[in-house]
């Protein structure tokens, strides 16, 4: 038996090409006769579109065409885009037109597209398109937008309420009525964008000889994109191929199907020329979906010992101008709130507000960081009020491992009862506390204080629904060359999908990992697919890789046994060779077996033999699997500047069995960096006219190498019973509790001044402002 790949720190198969400039991103593709597109976008957050005069743009040398909605085929130009995740609780079921008709509802909305010889000329022409707008009142802040007399985000709607729903269980009022203590927090959270380093990108090309439309897109979901294109362009699935080649980061916003992804193929078909559109960073700030403001008003009821009796409150979510991904995020947020704690009664009233800003859809964490922040702020409040240690309050309320599987009492986003499948929450927190030497912190803090430094420690616990269905498939096929072709609907934006699936196939088929030829992100490679979101690929595609690899191994054993004239239990398969255990150990290579498996023209197969060595498996999970963990953070806060330095960042992480620790550690570390951005830096600002103010990386800050420490990571492995690998998702857990732990640590560092924080991002001026209000500088004046 070759060395087992599952669980090993296998170097990534993706790396060599990416390290030598040999990556293939969408923008790296150059087709003969290719033209370049640029979009005319709305400069207003809300306006009526009176007329568009593109004559001057059309006359510019090098411009081939300008298209408005009316110039597109009716199926693309006339209809609104399909909603990806509908839900009966959505009252205003609004998605946008591919190119605006009559009304624009956010800055950057696509109005027209210009096609030219070069991007340079196309951008010149944008300035020549004369669009006559009648500016309308706009809804900017979601708290104002839900007021009865608010300006409406859409002229056709009576109000700005996209959806209201209540999530909860138990007798909340009774729980609060009988509680010893009730504490309330008002919380504002903002999350900003995904900000993948590669912006969105689309190339479309129609081959007139085969009528095949090929679309390259920097997307997380090529199969969903193909379905959307079939719908919008009224074409068969077979006549569309969507390829997501190397994709330069996803983080959620690239899971959405965008207007540009429909317009560019439509235009390529009209002009019968390949068309390339590469989003620039400013467009990404304007038009790639974001997560944005959530306002939480929440209360916790506890007994005299700090045990939770109930949690209740309200959540207001800014969905922006449209709801392309439905109401998934506020739904997930509401379902994530109970977290790892026993909460006898829970109720949250959720309002989803429309505003004149780009739509919000999941960004790494997808509503969960907000819920965890709200819950953990409440736990810290309980600790402070009852003068208990924050870790102790959490220990008193944890769901215990022997309570698994634990039914929370809610329905999760997958429509299934929210039942935690496995996990050991007290162990994770205990391990994280041990790693940071929590017991020794008081001494460290006192020593630092004596030197005029302010140290704090904070804890964040979370439970995350991962591995969502419906399915992801894997095909394993032994090629005539003896190589092993693996195809999957799973996609790769940096997660190492190629490597982890290869590990699983190698183990379960019995081939050398270097013999695997993997195709990811190509609808031509496998008929059905879903894509990357909700930390779902290890569970779904990983399990399918196990199943498909195992099925082909059975075929190999049958064939080899038949050919070698031995019984099937005599056959071993390893390192791409089938060997009979007995006698002089006769063997057949995969190459020989692949040829034998095709049979000979005119000759019948042996009984039970099937053509080829090939199997496609589509694993479908019964429900979400629940990843969990604890982050503990130690910060050094400078009260004079509001600067926060993270001294020590501990993660105790439980994503079940681990396929590749190298990759999981990378996912956690990267997720934490995103969480640090959320906690301290990232703020997509709009003014009162819903004009975006932060549209460069100089205005909108994402973490730099000096902002992110190297985390210390412990793995708690509670296998999931819900899939054959025992794995859970690992892509988002690093982000989810980060802001909760960091803000708690900042508050702790400044505890002597009695300042409290209930917002993210917590930027330096807010820290200084709070300290000023609390009179901190009068106290510090004597010191400095």
């Amino acid at each position: 038996m070759g060395a087992k790949q599952f669980g090993a720190r296998v170097s990534r198969l993706e790396d060599s090409a990416l390290l030598t400039g040999g990556g293939r991103f969408v923008d790296d593709t150059k087709l003969p006769g290719m033209l370049h597109a640029c979009f005319v976008r709305s400069p207003h957050a809300h306006a009526r579109l009176r007329s568009i005069d593109a004559s001057a743009a059309r006359d510019l040398p090098g411009v081939h065409a300008v298209f408005t909605a009316d110039d597109l085929p009716a199926s693309v130009g006339g209809n609104r885009m399909p909603m990806l995740v509908p839900n009966p609780a959505i009252e205003a079921s609004l998605t946008q037109h591919c190119l605006a008709r009559e009304e624009v509802c956010y800055v950057g909305q696509t109005v027209a597209v210009i096609v030219a010889d070069s991007r340079y000329i196309a951008e010149d022409a944008v300035a020549l398109v004369d669009v006559d707008y009648d500016v309308l009142p706009m809804a900017s802040n979601c708290r104002d937008a839900v007021k009865p007399d608010a300006a409406r985000a859409h002229s056709a709607l009576a109000n700005n309420i996209a959806s209201t729903f209540r999530m909860g269980y138990g007798d909340v009022d009774a729980a609060f009525a009988s509680a010893a203590h009730v504490f309330k927090e008002d919380i504002w959270q903002h999350r900003g964008g995904g900000m993948a380093m590669e912006t969105r990108a689309v190339i479309a090309s129609l081959d007139p000889s085969t009528d095949l439309l090929t679309v390259w897109s920097a997307t997380q979901t090529p199969h969903i994109g193909r379905r959307m294109l079939a719908d919008l362009l009224d074409r068969s699935l077979e006549s569309i191929r969507v390829i997501a080649p190397d994709v330069g980061g996803g983080f959620g916003p690239k899971a959405i199907f965008y207007a540009e992804e429909a317009v560019i193929p439509a235009v390529a078909m009209l002009l019968r020329r390949p068309i390339k559109w590469i989003e620039d960073r400013r467009e990404h700030f304007l038009c790639a979906t974001q997560e944005r403001d959530q306002y939480w008003t929440v209360e916790i009821a506890v007994d005299g010992e700090g045990k939770i009796k109930g949690v209740r409150g309200k959540l207001l979510h800014d969905t922006g101008a449209f709801v392309p991904w439905g109401i998934i995020m506020p739904y997930i947020a509401a379902a994530t709130m109970p977290g790892p704690y026993v909460i006898p009664a829970y109720g949250l009233d959720v309002t989803v507000a429309l505003t004149n800003k780009v739509a919000t859809t999941p960004v790494r964490g997808a509503g969960r960081p907000q819920a965890v922040f709200a819950m953990e702020r409440l736990m810290d409040r309980v600790a402070r009020e009852l003068k208990l240690d924050p870790a102790e309050v959490r220990f008193r309320n944890f769901i215990q491992p022997e309570q698994m599987p634990y039914s929370v009492g809610l329905t999760f986003r997958d429509g299934k009862p929210l039942v935690y499948d496995s996990g050991d929450y007290p162990q994770a927190q205990a391990e994280a506390l041990r790693m940071i030497n929590y017991e020794g912190f008081a001494v460290r803090k006192a020593q630092a204080r004596a030197q005029g430094r302010f140290l704090g420690v904070g804890i964040g616990n979370y439970v995350e629904g991962t591995g969502l269905g419906p399915y992801e498939g894997v095909t394993v096929r032994v090629l005539p060359s003896g190589k092993v072709a693996v195809a999957t609907g799973a996609t790769n934006q940096g997660q190492g999908t190629r490597t982890t699936l290869s590990q699983i196939v190698a183990d379960n088929l019995g081939c050398r990992i270097e013999d695997i030829v993997m195709t990811v992100g190509d609808t031509a490679a496998i008929p059905q697919g879903v894509g990357a979101f909700a930390s779902r690929q290890a569970v779904n595609a990983g399990s399918s890789a196990l199943m498909a690899g195992g099925a082909v191994r059975v075929q190999i054993v049958k064939l080899a046994a038949h050919v070698l004239g031995v019984s099937e239990d005599e056959i071993e398969v390893e390192d791409s060779i089938a060997i009979a255990r007995g006698g002089n150990r006769p063997s057949l290579t995969f190459r020989e077996l692949a040829r034998l498996s095709q049979g000979m023209p005119g000759f019948s197969f042996a009984p039970g033999q099937s053509p080829g060595l090939e199997h496609t498996a589509y694993f479908t999970p019964p429900q979400a699997s629940y990843c969990s963990g604890t982050h503990v953070v130690e910060t050094d806060v400078d009260p004079m500047t509001g600067a926060v330095k993270i001294l020590n960042y501990i993660v105790a992480h439980d994503s079940g069995n681990i396929i590749n620790p190298l990759i999981v550690d990378g996912q956690i570390q990267g997720g934490v960096a995103h969480g640090i951005g959320n906690a301290l830096l990232e703020w997509m600002k709009y003014d009162e006219n819903a004009q975006p103010l932060t549209t460069t990386f100089a205005d909108y800050l994402i973490p730099m190498a000096t902002d992110v420490p190297t985390c210390k990571i412990a793995h708690i492995e509670s296998p999931s019973p819900l899939n054959p690998l025992g794995v859970k998702g690992a892509g988002e857990g690093g982000t989810i509790p980060a802001a909760a732990a960091i803000i708690a640590a900042i508050e702790d560092a400044l505890s002597e001044f009695g300042v409290h924080f209930a917002e993210t991002p917590l930027v330096p001026e807010r820290i200084v402002g709070a300290l000023r209000t609390a009179g901190a500088y009068e106290k510090l004046g004597g010191l400095r």
Binding site: S16, L18, T20, F697
Partner: protein
């Protein structure tokens, strides 16, 4: 659009072209020379994905016009591999330390660290992180990149 003649060296190869005055160096490298390893992440000089070496010093190729590099010697990520075409020490350290995920920022990271390690064969972690503030990475949280830089420096010093 006025055209200008430029002649320069790119990865050791002599190149002569006629270019528009407004053509950026990164578009020249990617479009004209088909060296697509250098990436465009922000086009406003912050993210560093487009970093190349101009006469040995790092520069943003998105903020440099092609006509500015006439008579210069440019190195891009395609010019880093070792003589046998395999990964060089820094590139190998990136793979060994999981210094990349999506790989989009990676070429710029490699160019910045190539300059650093040439200037300072024994940098501290703090110096590495300081240099890396010129390059944004959204995937890795920088830990693997920092580890790779320090590992590469050690391997280069010891010949390991």
């Amino acid at each position: 659009m006025a055209k200008h003649q430029v002649s320069l060296k790119v990865n050791g190869r002599s190149v002569e072209r006629e270019v528009d005055s407004r053509l950026t160096l990164v578009d020249f490298l990617r479009g004209e020379l088909e060296l697509t390893g250098t990436h465009v992440g922000c086009e406003h000089g912050v993210c560093g994905a487009c970093t190349v070496l101009i006469d040995g010093r790092t520069a943003r190729s998105c903020l440099t016009f092609a006509i500015q590099v006439d008579a210069s010697d440019i190195t891009t990520v395609e010019g880093l591999a070792s003589a046998d075409g395999g990964l060089n020490t820094l590139q190998q350290a990136f793979q060994d330390n999981h210094g990349l995920q999506c790989g989009f920022c990676t070429p710029g990271m490699l160019m910045s660290l190539t300059e650093l390690l040439k200037d300072n064969p024994d940098p501290s972690e703090e110096q590495v992180r300081d240099v890396l503030t010129g390059n944004l990475c959204r995937c890795t949280g920088y830990a693997g990149i920092v580890a790779a830089a320090l590992d590469a420096a050690r391997r280069m010093r010891t010949g390991a």
